[in-house]
């Protein structure tokens, strides 16, 4: 079995350790005997997601994000089509924002996103920084396999405030829902306690850390879902020894309560 990860803008959107997510997906697949190919897509590169199993895009600095926004919007319709076709994806921070409807800058300029997440972001006037604990039980309640604790741990650092638009009248499947609710930290906007977003198999979050190493259950969910999409359900997907991962996860939880964070 083979899994192909498409990494969007690896040199421009690589702000803070988000590469660790690619590494986690790669290793957790390899350790199960699954071959992994990572394809890098940059500015002006054509995009054909037929071969893609997982799409990943990390965060970047404001300057880089503006440049990428224009290129991403051009690639937008192809990505949207693939996500509608259940493509698995993970977007962090700036990428998460760009996969929404728009970003409203401090000067009132509206940067269009690729409109996959039913969400928008507006510039805030303070940095939302610190360790985060996210409660994802609502999200994972119907996933059908045992998750001991559906919490995510990570570190957020953003001034943008993202608001998700869950809409009545649509089924859960058609909606953009939060990834979870913050027990510690600010989350999407510091107001409604939501963190991140999920639409079909596309995930978005503000969590660095990197996200996946300390939250192996999410990494495995992405890999498993991607494999099932391509190969059906008739294959072995063994559990890995995640003792170290969970010890790191516990430390992060502890530090969310004890560490002092300060910002400029």
């Amino acid at each position: 079995m083979k899994i192909t990860i498409y990494h969007l803008y690896p040199t421009l959107m690589n702000l803070y350790g988000d590469r660790g997510n690619i590494l986690t997906l790669l290793k957790r697949s390899e350790w199960r005997g699954i071959e992994v190919i990572v394809k890098e897509i940059g500015l002006n590169d054509p995009i054909d997601l037929k071969e893609a199993d997982i799409l990943f895009m990390g965060g970047g600095q404001d300057k880089e994000q503006e440049r990428v926004a224009i290129d991403l919007v051009a690639k937008g319709p192809f990505i949207k089509e693939a996500v509608e076709d259940d493509l698995v994806g993970l977007t962090i921070c700036g990428a998460f924002q760009l996969f929404g409807k728009y970003f409203l800058t401090g000067e009132g300029k509206e940067l269009k996103g690729i409109e996959i997440f039913d969400a928008y972001t507006e510039a805030g006037n303070r940095r939302l920084i610190g360790n985060v604990i996210v409660d994802c039980r609502e999200l994972t309640k119907n996933w059908g396999w045992e998750i001991f604790r559906a919490t995510l741990v990570g570190f957020e650092n953003h001034s943008g405030k993202t608001f998700i638009n869950p809409q009545s009248g649509k089924t859960e499947e058609e909606q953009t829902l939060p990834l979870g609710y913050v027990t510690k930290g600010f989350g999407n906007n510091g107001q409604d306690r939501t963190e991140g977003a999920v639409y079909k198999n596309l995930f978005g979050t503000y969590l660095h850390g990197s996200l996946l190493p300390k939250n192996p259950w999410l990494a495995d969910h992405l890999i498993l879902t991607a494999l099932q999409r391509r190969y059906g359900t008739d294959f072995e997907f063994p559990q890995l020894d995640d003792n170290l991962e969970y010890k790191a996860h516990e430390t992060a939880i502890k530090r969310a309560y004890t560490a002092k964070t300060s910002y400029l």
């Binding site: 920084i129 190493p213 560490a259 002092k260």
Partner: protein
């Protein structure tokens, strides 16, 4: 009156903190003093006959300042220097208050200060330094600074606020070199010309600024040193690496043993042989030489100063413990950590390592940065790795995903970790300790309490 009170209280706090062994008094005294007299920094630095030097940048401040201090001493100058690396204004003030008389007189010719990047505007304005040198700008502690552009702008502000200062810039770092526009005066550039140690094609992505700061086009590099430093040019707007006036023409690195280099300045060549390891330290030596040159210190004196230098506080610091040796190599950010690792694996001898990762305020509270570091290089180059610190498990995870297996132990308690690791080291051999900042301070404090290391205030 304010000044007197500030100094009095400051000195009292320094005394108390040392007697009670609650710290070295390198930050709190200064903090309280500046609350009493907000202009204390200006008042205490006004009267140096040779003015002050400010050194800033992401990596290398402490080492560059220490090398420069060695050169200045060789030149017979009396220096006030915040050598422990306490580099916010409170740190500068603590250093000055300690050296000052109760009435604010300091017996020194020159002030030498490493200054935290975000503190540059205030420090430059109050000190009005004779020279300000910027070493590099790498991604570091994003939870404190936000973004690289903002950091560069802060430094630019500082340069603008001290119009009389000589500005000295790293030509090989495009972001730093672009500060010339903010300088609006003649700038002294330093850089490496020799291309022996350039990166191969597929190097790890710890680069941050690969684009032209003027027009945003991606740079073409004819040679890359590390991170985003190298020889660059923009094919769109023509912005090119400036020719450095102080440059390394010959270079030979000897792994952990040090290096030989030839620096050309104004047509003359200065040959230096030193014991400070690593390519990143070539820049620190070069930078210190550039400052010394701008101060018109004769080349033979510079040579003496550099060659008699051994290490800075907690950076490549060698400490003897019984029959064994400890080698402290501070780690702070992806480029710094990657460079330390590259230096460690440069020779074929497997190393005994202790990595200590903390996430306190001074270490950076977001440990994401370890995932941007090229630890894969350690494969087959280590005897054992002990992992310690508050976030030991994060580091162990990083090593696991770097496919490093076997001989990796976790011991969260730092002192126990050092003891256990030393037991596994042969007599006469080295334990290489890679701590983040507060872990480094904890280790030094512990060694000081055991009498192995002199308390840092007794060294000078």
């Amino acid at each position: 009156m304010r000044k007197f009170l500030a100094i009095l209280v400051g000195k009292l706090l320094i005394f108390i903190s040392r007697v009670l062994k609650v710290g070295g008094g390198s930050a709190l005294p200064g903090l309280v003093a500046e609350k009493i007299d907000p202009n204390i920094l200006k008042k205490l630095t006004q009267k140096f006959s040779s003015g002050s030097i400010i050194i800033t940048g992401t990596n290398g401040k402490t080492t560059t300042a220490a090398i420069l201090a060695s050169i200045l001493k060789a030149a017979g100058k009396n220096v006030v220097h915040n050598y422990t690396g306490s580099n916010l204004t409170r740190g500068l003030n603590s250093t000055l208050i300690e050296k000052a008389s109760f009435f604010g007189k300091i017996k020194a010719d020159i002030g030498l200060f490493e200054v935290d990047e975000a503190t540059i505007p205030e420090a430059a304005l109050k000190i009005q330094p004779r020279a300000i040198i910027i070493l590099n700008l790498f991604r570091d502690q994003l939870d404190r600074y936000g973004e690289l552009e903002k950091t560069k702008d802060l430094i630019g502000r500082g340069i603008f606020l001290s119009p009389g200062s000589q500005v000295i810039l790293n030509a090989d770092d495009p972001l730093v070199a672009s500060l010339k526009e903010d300088a609006k005066r003649e700038v002294l550039f330093f850089g490496v010309e020799n291309e022996t140690y350039t990166q191969k094609e597929q190097h790890f992505h710890s680069a941050d600024s690969l684009d032209c700061p003027r027009c945003g086009q991606e740079f073409l590099y004819t040679a890359k040193f590390f991170g985003h430093t190298g020889k660059y040019q923009c094919l769109k707007c023509g912005y090119t690496r400036p020719t450095p006036q102080v440059k390394v023409q010959q270079l030979k690195l000897w792994g952990m043993e040090g290096s030989d280099m030839a620096i050309e300045v104004q047509g003359t060549t200065l040959e230096l042989k030193n014991t400070i390891a690593g390519f990143y330290n070539v820049y620190n030596i070069l930078a210190a030489t550039a400052v010394a040159f701008s101060l018109e210190i004769p080349l033979e004196v510079i040579k003496r100063g550099v060659e008699s230098f051994s290490s800075a506080f907690g950076r490549l610091e060698k400490i003897k413990i019984g029959s064994k040796n400890l080698y402290l190599l501070l780690i702070k950010n992806p480029s710094g950590f990657s460079e330390v690792v590259e230096t460690l694996v440069a020779d074929s001898k497997p190393k005994s390592l202790l990595i200590a990762l903390n996430d306190n305020f001074a270490d950076g509270t977001d440990v994401s940065w370890i995932w941007d570091t090229n630890l894969e290089l350690l494969k087959n180059h280590y005897r054992f790795i002990t992992v310690s610190g508050i976030r030991a498990y994060d580091m162990v995870l990083r090593l696991k995903y770097a496919d490093l297996a076997g001989n990796i132990d976790i011991e969260e308690n730092l002192e126990t970790a050092v003891q256990k690791s030393l037991e596994k080291v042969e007599d006469g051999e080295y334990l290489y300790l890679l701590p983040t900042y507060t872990a480094m301070l904890d280790i030094r404090n512990w060694l000081t309490k055991k009498g192995i290391v002199l308390p840092f205030w007794k060294i000078k």
